[in-house]
């Protein structure tokens, strides 16, 4: 399909025939397993736009719950032209190109301070981006000769992170968040943003604020008040490329 066709098209999910609209979903209802529970599952599927819907699997989970797998045809159409995505605003560079860009544009090492902020004790995402080990076959930022990484680890408070970033004269603050219960990830990032904006009143001197985690969406950038958000599957190279693309323009 050409890009132009992609933009105009109205589409439905594809099961095995164009336009058949077939989807699968599974869910649990807090009902004892009986005929009425199956009817309730079909009613839910209908309200979700599945018509016809077919319950293909039912299983009682204990005395009070029933699990369903449902297949059905959705009547909704997707208007591809109305879909908005955050397109990558920077070119993807190799590690060598990143190092070269830092040397020629900054004439010093690029300093990154990273932490899993707030109560979050999970450093999996942070380490995937920062540790030499890296992620998805790419080495982490520690491996880049022209990047100096200060990895503060987990459960770092907003004040502590901002103070350290100031002391290290950081070019960027990386905030990693895995735990999302009760929107903790959003709260924690906002705390850092508030502290950083208080510490650097001049936006051009402020380090770039970058949030990352599996449940973040790049479209949340404005809402969180950060400069960039990275979602699930982000690799170290994407972060490095973004930083070198964005930094010189800010200091200019």
């Amino acid at each position: 399909m050409t890009a132009a066709a992609q933009e105009k098209k109205l589409v439905r999910p594809y099961g095995d025939t164009t336009g058949d609209g077939m989807v699968q979903l599974s869910f649990t209802l807090p009902l004892r397993h009986d005929e009425r529970a199956e009817g309730a599952a079909l009613q839910l599927a209908g309200k979700m736009g599945l018509d016809p819907a077919m319950v293909v699997h039912v299983k009682a989970i204990g005395p009070d719950f029933t699990f369903f797998i449902v297949y059905g045809r959705v009547r909704h159409l997707v208007d591809v032209s109305a879909v908005q995505v955050v397109e990558r605003e920077y070119p993807l560079l190799t590690a060598k190109e990143v190092n070269l860009a830092v040397r020629s544009r900054l004439r010093r090492k690029l300093v990154v301070v990273g932490a899993a902020v707030g109560t979050d004790a999970h450093t999996v995402g942070l380490d995937a981006i920062l540790n030499v080990k890296g992620f998805a076959g790419e080495k982490g930022l520690e491996h880049y000769r022209e990047i100096r990484v200060v990895n503060l680890g987990s459960q770092v408070g907003a004040g502590e992170l901002v103070a350290r970033a100031a002391r290290e004269r950081a070019d960027a603050i990386l905030m990693s968040q895995v735990v999302t219960q009760r929107d903790a990830h959003v709260q924690h990032v906002r705390e850092v943003v508030t502290a950083a904006r208080a510490a650097w009143t001049d936006d051009r001197r402020r380090p770039l604020l970058v949030a990352g985690g599996p449940r973040f969406d790049p479209a949340m950038t404005g809402d969180l008040g950060v400069d960039r958000v990275f979602g699930k599957g982000t690799t170290p190279r994407e972060v490095a490329s973004y930083l070198v693309h964005t930094l010189p323009r800010r200091s200019a």
């Binding site: 979050d120 380490d127 987990s154």
Partner: protein, 522 residues
Amino acid sequence: MTSKLGLDPAVVQTARELARRAAQPVVHMAQTHTTVSVERAVLRLAGVQGADAEGIPWVNRLVDAVRSSVGLAHGVALPVWDALLAGQAADIAELAQKAATGGVAFRLPAARDADRARRAARNAVAGGIARIDRNRKQRERLLARLGDPEPPWIYLIVATGDIYEDIPQAQAAAREGADVVAVIRSTGQSLLDYVPEGATREGFAGTYATQENFRLMRAALDDVSRELGRYVRLTNYASGLCMPEIATLAGLERLDMMLNDCMYGIVFRDINPQRTFIDQRFSRQVHARAGIVINTGEDNYLTTADAVDAAHTVIVSQLLNERFGKEAGLADWQLGLGHAFEINPAIPDSLRLELAHAQLVRELFPDAPLKYMPPTKHMTGNVFAGYLLDAFFNLVGVLTGQGIILIGMMTEGIHTPFLSDRDLALENVRYVVRAARGLDEDFHPPRDGFIATRARQVLGESVDLLDRICDQSLLDAIAKGTFGVTKRPADGGKGLAGVVPHADGYYNPATEILQQTGEDAR
């Protein structure tokens, strides 16, 4: 048991001897230091409960008050029971409240006063230890009456943050086949230098470990155990800055297994290494007495390091955990040594490598239950592929006779498990156990084959690493990033301020009683 892998008993012996040597200086340090949390655990054993209006437990207030007046180098017991004998308060609860506002004059008693204070302290602490002993007997009675499940024990996690949501989830998990229920702690708890009080309904990705939450959950599982005719074990986490106190609460409330690793807090939570090793020794002495099975955390190394390159660091850590555990009085059946199925499924032979590692651990620790952890790092969000990977994990667990299998969730890394995720995961493991239990009888990898060769290679690398650790010291090795690719210097991290060297005449009634347990066991 003859080795399926052709392991050389002399090499295994060398590995154990090196682990003993590496551990020795750390054991000595733990024997000659105390921490604020060890001292608070002493008070908890003597029955101090509750918290002030700010939620700070009275044990914290009392230890802080003693520390600021006479210091902790002689332990908290001597000045506290001396003050009680002097009539400064009617009982220890009142003493704690008075001390919090500076209303108690503490001193270090000498001569006969010291003898009297020691005796009184020992009597008070013996009361708590008697309760731990009664709980152990009660567990043994329930296991005999209700039945002890055949291994592998199916281990499931609940983590809602709200103890009153956890309870129905845990009961549902037990009804669906869980033999062990673990309540994951709130993510911030490891770095709290106090144990929260009461039943809690707010937590982040887990539920706070409190004495009341322990009691509520154990009672709920006792109910469901009777309903099912099978004793369902309860697990929590003796880790973080309050490791000794949480171990104590676990004994007081009849928890059955506790996560308790010798280096996890250091590497993954940046808790000071000295603090961790001192706290760890005390907590293991309590676990030994309580008949609790500990679970160690080697699986975590493989979430930061590569599961193939770092396989030998898991073995080295297990040998150290075994050594530290035995020194503290734990028996082999109490050592749930951890490891994990974390090799990248995209690489060739990943299943054969997993089998080699799992069988190696099985043969090195034949009498330990072993805690086998499911894939997490390579769970991608493709729940269908994840379900398959979990089935392979279950198969390796059954084939290599792992004692405790933590059930993998196909939605790992996406959200806290749905009720249905847990049910599907149990369906997966039940199928594998039904289909393949006993397959280990038919599993005899050739001595010169891929699996046996790989296992011997990992053991060899483990001996080399232990050798290098003995050349320097364990604390130096940790500082250099040997475990989990994370560098943790001996004077860094959180909690060092709570470490105090013993003075001559240091007295800890709990250690005195618990060390007798260890000596009796040996």
